[in-house]
Amino acid sequence: MDGHENEDVGFQHGSEGILNCPSSRMSTNPLPEKVSAMTMSSVSMYKPSNGADPFFGSGWDPLVSLSQSENFGGSSMVSHGEYPPYPVVMENQGISTTSHLVQYPSSSSFVELVPKLPCFGSGSFSEMVNSFGLPDCSQIANSGCPQNYASNKEVATGRTSTNGAHSKDDQQVSGEGAIGSSPNAKRRKRVPDSNNSAFSPNQNGEGDVQKDLSGDSSDGQKEPDEKKPKIEQNTGSNMRGKQTSKQVKDTSSGDAPKDNYIHVRARRGQATNSHSLAERVRREKISERMRLLQELVPGCNKITGKAVMLDEIINYVQSLQQQVEFLSMKLATVNPELNIDIEQILSKDIIHSRGGTGAILGFGPGMSSSHPYPHGIYQGTLPSIPSTTPKYPSLSQNVLDNDFQSLFQMGFDSSSAIDNLGPNAGHLKPEN
């Protein structure tokens, strides 16, 4: 289930999840699938460097809304790096995506079909789960959704459960496809606008997304064929486990969040409950923010894991605040110089003090430790400020205030503050 544990697992096992994908096609172990599925979103945020990247990078369609971009990332992870990621789920057994897509009605009908989707879920999920054959897809494509269900039901009854996963994919895919209309590119653009949420029962979201992204390329149509067997095997176990129970109750939620909501599509192998969908969106947002923070906080490039990252963030904010306090104390002790020029000089310096590798950089990194800044700052808050400066180890031989600068160089690994202060101090000297 898309529990929080999955996300954490996904965070930490992000790389594992991706690596698992190619190898665990046949695996019936649901966990790696879940992990990989979960890691799709979380890891995708971290721009993994596997083969799926070209898709990820090139396919970052600005047209796609944020949630879908997250889905993109997730789906791109599914592509085991061997194939250019492509819609996936569409395929069942032996039916080419091309045939699927070609038959689908135009995107205009997509909109019409969309409202009917809810019945997709409300209908006979259990029957759908039972699966139906591929040939149904063509029928589905040409008919409206309700008809699809009817035909699906008929076929479904005759199938074995082994096909269940595939058929499920197929049906949903076809449902998607019918709505999705023209192959690849066009579909995705519609989908965000209209009712992604309605598609919650589908793992097709992933497939659709990828279809769109690669839509312009002719490869798109070939790829699903290749991907198909893998994807199905991957998520088959997931689907059986999760889908049957969840989807029955899912459906009606598809309707409601049509209008002002961020539309999310359930990825393949994911539970499609609206709550879990919303939760997944929220988790992906959070992981995206965490990634941003990772770039901001120095020395956090290698950290994977929310807990450790949060610790680092907290430490960093605390250290910054302590620096402010320390600096304010230092400023309180400094003899006031009431030159009116100060403002202009400092403004000029501050403007000019862009990132530049100053001399400080030379020993900045040298001073770094695993948790640099707390040590540096704690020293800074020692009492009796005026006399503290001699206490600090004088580390630099350059023009800056040795004691003060060294304090902060101990504090920062590669903080740009140091970078900026380098040239800044350099400017100060000659002007004085």
């Binding site: 901001l296 907290i314 904010v317 403002e343």
Partner: protein, 150 residues
């Protein structure tokens, strides 16, 4: 992926902060004589710290939740400075979570101004912006300190 709202035009904030802060510093210097007693220095440093936060909050304006929280706090402080101070001294009850129960998210909420009322997602976003502005603040203050100490 567009990360709306997190990209910060640091330079403009930097300049605004620098000007405002320096102005405040000069004002303070003019008003208060330079005293060397520890107590006086502590008071002055406290005032300087408030001035620094106020300057950076004004530089950022009302765009971010944390700057709004700081400005709100400052205004309330100014408003109640005379009136409520004596009365509220006794009533001020500081609720602290038992130390063992504090989760990391709560810690972060305490650190970031206005963080208590935010959900995790916006808290992280505000933290990112806050970190950038704090580092700007530190840079400028350090420059000023360097300049003064030469």
């Amino acid at each position: 992926m567009t990360q709306k709202g997190v990209t910060l035009n640091t330079n403009s904030h930097k300049i605004k902060f620098a000007r405002s802060f320096i102005r405040t510093l000069l004002k303070m210097r003019k008003n208060a004589p330079s005293s060397s007693s520890i107590e006086e220095i502590r008071k002055r440093s406290q005032r300087i710290k408030i001035a620094a936060y106020s300057s950076i909050a004004h530089a950022v304006g009302s765009r971010r939740a944390w700057s709004r929280a700081i400005l709100f706090k400052l205004r309330n402080r100014a408003r109640h400075h005379g009136m409520m101070r004596r009365r509220s001294m006794k009533k001020r009850v500081v609720k602290n979570d038992p130390p063992g129960d504090q989760s990391k998210a709560n810690k972060l909420r305490q650190l970031v101004p206005g963080g208590k009322a935010m959900d995790m997602c916006s808290l992280l976003e505000e933290t990112a912006h806050y970190i950038r502005c704090l580092s700007t603040q530190v840079k400028v203050m350090q420059t000023i300190a360097d300049h003064f100490s030469k």
